[in-house]
């Protein structure tokens, strides 16, 4: 923890704090329009100025942090849970069940997550899904697009861990499957997956913003950075601050989360590789080993 790049992690920490405390920090209602104060520069009343509807940019940035943070936490927790359960189950049970589950995982990974999320947003726009709000559609779409990576990783770890002699020893001593899994295997799975998730948080914030930027995520009255940015694009010539402010906020948070992932990875191996790259390499190696031992 001593060598962590604390100053650069500040945006991620700030993001979480601001998102959590958003209602206390906002000085105005982020949706309140004021036609007497359109496109103003920073002032005492509006720290970051106002947008083309006279809405307070500072409050909208704060509100956007909360929107992203809440969605990110929901998606990460749900995707992680589904991925760990499906992946571990496949790896532990093996046989035909494993084959079927791997096929499902492979199909889910045949397209990039964001394309799947986009397609699901399209599917959810159908009348059969009218009962869901746009915000929840986005969360469900992202979860369904995101779990497969965690499943593949979890399975690889389980398969590799099952090869270890101590598992056999535990079995000989009469330990139940549940005991072996929860006591010996699950901690390994969670250890790797949580590290990966910390690096993934940045990608997820980015995905939420990208969906909203494309008009398929968080809908207008709710403040969200990607949607603020696309909204500001029409004033890009006269007042580029509407684009630059949410863009910088977003970039700072993603850089920060990516560094966090890298820092996590560096705790484990003393080499300058990013968390995501490392996790992938580790998963690939585990998979290769499993294939080799199976013959």
């Amino acid at each position: 923890m001593k060598n962590w790049p604390w100053p650069i992690l500040a945006p991620a920490i700030l993001f979480v704090l601001i998102g959590a405390l958003a209602p206390l920090l906002m000085m105005h209602d982020p949706a309140a329009q004021d036609y007497g104060a359109l496109l103003q520069g920073p002032s005492g009343a509006h720290w970051l100025g106002t947008d083309y509807l006279g809405r307070d940019m500072y409050s909208r940035i704060i509100g956007g942090a909360r929107t992203s943070l809440v969605a990110m936490i929901f998606v990460l927790v749900a995707a992680l849970a589904i991925g760990v359960v499906v992946g571990s189950f496949a790896g532990y049970v093996g046989g035909r069940v494993e084959l079927v589950l791997i096929s499902v995982i492979d199909i889910a990974l045949a397209l990039p997550s964001l394309v799947i999320a986009l397609a699901l947003m399209g599917v959810f726009s159908g009348e059969n899904f009218a009962w869901m709000s746009d915000y929840w559609k986005m969360i469900v779409a992202l979860t369904l697009a995101w779990w497969a990576n965690y499943a593949r990783m979890s399975r690889a770890v389980v398969v590799a861990e099952l090869q270890q002699p101590y598992i056999e020893a535990a079995r000989v001593m009469g330990a139940s499957h549940l005991w072996i899994f929860s006591r010996h295997i699950l901690p390994h799975v969670l250890g790797l997956v949580v590290v990966y998730a910390s690096a993934d948080a940045g990608a997820l914030v980015l995905a939420i913003a990208t969906l909203s930027f494309l008009g398929l995520g968080v809908a207008p009255p709710t403040p969200e950075w990607g949607q603020m940015l696309v909204d500001g694009m029409q004033y890009i010539e006269e007042y580029p601050a509407l684009v630059i402010i949410p863009g910088l906020a977003l970039t700072a948070v993603v850089v920060s989360f990516n560094l966090l992932g890298e820092a996590f990875a560096l705790q484990k191996v003393p080499r300058a590789v990013s968390g995501r790259f490392l996790a992938r390499k580790k998963a690939a190696r585990a998979e290769e080993e499993a294939a080799r031992s199976r013959g």
């Binding site: 096929s103 492979d106 199909i107 045949a110 397209l111 990039p112 964001l114 394309v115 986009l118 397609a119 699901l120 947003m121 399209g122 599917v123 959810f124 726009s125 159908g126 009348e127 059969n128 899904f129 940045g202 980015l206 913003a209 990208t210 930027f213 494309l214 008009g215 398929l216 990607g226 940015l229 696309v230 694009m233 890009i236 010539e237 580029p240 684009v243 630059i244 863009g247 977003l250 970039t251 993603v254 850089v255 990516n258 560094l259 080499r271 300058a272 590789v273 990013s274 790259f277 080799r292 013959g295």
Partner: protein, 313 residues
């Protein structure tokens, strides 16, 4: 070797079939009633139950899902991907109009990413911990973290609005392609630069590099002649993965710069609930992703004797 090739290719075909079946199932599950949608588009609000029933019967929408998928697949293989619900044009026609735009984006972006990442990665390795290395590391981190729509917006602000060098919108001539290309190249270039840098560093500590130094070669010569060929495989596989991800960049870039490519069509299809258009584009994407991965795997097999491992007993 040939058997391995064939097995890998067969796997790719199976994956394409499974993935298109999955998207077909999802997309047909969504609208509730495609016939009602079509009738509504054709006759406005005047569509009655009888008309809807007739359209459903004509299109065979009452058949069970596997039958419909088989029929769709047969049509798709013969080049008929249906008629877009939004534009009313056959999807084959839409594709013919739009694929060149997206391909030009991907090709230009891909070449730019290749050059940028090699230059950045090698420059970092030459500097080896020096100021250039650290600067490039920071640059790659920022490049891999900046949303591509923000990159695009900043490029427009700087080069179009402030400097007035290129048009804000659309493409006309070579210079107008530069901003879109750079936008989609930045992320893959940043990721690839790290791959080049890390793998070069690793290769420099291997025995063959030591041999090179012992023969009296300079660091630069060892780097380029001994270490560089050894990063070919990680570079190639990462490049393949990043190249497929560039389609997301293309979707965003086409929207920001108002280009009429596949990505823009996809977003419009989603917004206008054009489920036939969506299914066609998703099929195109699946074919694209699976074949790029296939090509990368086959090239890796060719390049690395270790990947051509025989079946173990």
């Amino acid at each position: 070797m040939a058997v391995q090739f064939l097995r890998r290719a067969a796997l790719a075909v199976l994956l394409m079939l499974a993935a298109t079946a999955m998207t077909f199932w999802l997309v047909t599950a969504a609208p509730g009633n495609v016939a009602a949608l079509i009738a509504e588009r054709a006759a406005g609000a005047g569509a009655d139950g009888e008309m809807i029933a007739r359209i459903a019967e004509d299109l065979g929408l009452n058949d069970p899902l596997p039958v419909r998928y088989a029929r769709w697949l047969g049509d798709a293989l013969s080049g008929d991907l249906g008629v877009s619900l939004r534009t009313g044009k056959p999807m084959a026609e839409e594709f013919a109009e739009r694929i060149p735009m997206t391909l030009a984006l991907l090709a230009g972006g891909g070449v730019l990413a290749l050059i940028l990442s090699l230059v950045m990665g090698i420059a970092g390795a030459v500097s080896n911990g020096g100021i250039v290395d650290r600067l490039l590391h920071a640059l790659a981190l920022v490049g891999a973290s900046t949303p591509n729509f923000f990159v695009a917006a900043m490029l427009v602000i700087v080069f179009s609005v402030w400097l007035g060098w290129v048009p804000t919108f659309g493409v006309s001539g070579f210079t107008s392609w530069l901003l879109p290309w750079f936008t989609i190249a930045l992320f893959p270039a940043s990721v690839l630069a790290r791959v080049v840098r890390v793998n070069l560093q690793e290769a420099m500590s291997r025995p063959f590099a030591t041999t090179g130094f012992a023969k009296g070669l300079t660091r630069g010569a060892v780097l380029l002649r001994e270490a560089l060929p050894n990063i070919a495989i990680p570079f190639m596989t990462t490049f393949g993965a990043q190249f497929t991800l560039m389609i997301i960049g293309a979707i965003v870039v086409e929207r920001v710069f108002g280009l009429n490519g596949i990505g823009a069509f996809f977003i419009e299809a989603i917004r206008f609930r054009d489920f036939i258009g969506m299914q066609a584009v998703l099929t195109l994407f699946v074919v694209f992703f699976v074949s790029v991965n296939l090509v990368v795997d086959l090239l890796a097999m060719l390049a690395d004797p270790r990947m051509r491992r025989p079946r173990r007993a």
